[in-house]
Amino acid sequence: MAFQILLNLCMAIIWMLFKNSYQPMDFFVGYMTGLIIIFIFRRFFDSRFYIYRILAIVHLLLVFIREVLLSNIAVLKIVLAPKLDMKPGIFALPIGITKDWEIYILSCLITLTPGTLVMKVSNDQKTLYIHAMDIPDIEESINGIKNGFERLIRDVSR
């Protein structure tokens, strides 16, 4: 991905050199032309066309913001409820992603999702131990959300 972006920047600079004018607008036009050229030659690269990956990152960011808002509403409900009747606990969640930065992003997302907080990443990096605010209520849906996050992060790193 980084190589494709670098190539695209080089194409934009070469475009400016051809035009012999160095305005931001020329850079932009050159960048767009380079984007089209990279799209046409995409089968020569070993990774995907990089715009797809940028779209996946944006998608992840939007999901992140939505989850932050939802988690705050959930915490507010528990804190301001008249009776403390939640059932907290720690459960283990096996994960399928291996790279360090992927695990970091996943644990950040889990920490900021409704009612869950990462306690420990196991030593072999295959399990996350998560403290949940209300175990019987959310365990099923939480697993669904986690799989969704894992899929989104895989989309980015694919």
Partner: protein, 117 residues
């Protein structure tokens, strides 16, 4: 136009202050370290971010100043506050702080016992 922007700024400030207040209330009220950490690490994050957003909008609309430092602060808070919550929880667990009595599961404890024996 200024009326709309004013009401948005006021709304953001009220939401942020309310979230911080609720977080403080949660820290006082909830029973053990881990559940308190839920309130402290989530509600305050969003509360501070709302306050910063309101400040940013105020300076941008009223005084026409684009303060990029406020945006950077929001990004830094989002990057660091989950990690601090995680580390406090982990340190508490490793130094043997007990869970609340009504906790229903503790997978981490089970695996620790298996590793020990």
């Amino acid at each position: 136009m200024t009326e709309i922007s004013h009401s948005i700024i006021i709304l953001f400030i009220i939401i942020g202050a309310f979230l911080n207040l609720a977080a403080a209330y949660g820290v006082v009220r909830l029973p053990d370290v881990y559940t308190r950490n839920h309130a402290a690490s989530k509600a305050t994050t969003l509360g501070v971010v709302f306050l910063l957003l309101a400040t940013f909008l105020f300076f941008y609309i009223e005084m026409n100043l684009f303060q990029s430092r406020l945006i950077l602060t929001i990004v830094f808070i989002f990057l660091t506050s989950p990690v601090s919550g995680h580390l406090i929880n982990r340190a508490a667990y490793n130094s043997g702080v007990k869970l609340w009595d009504k906790s229903v599961r503790d997978d981490l404890d089970v695996t620790k016992k298996e590793a020990g024996t």
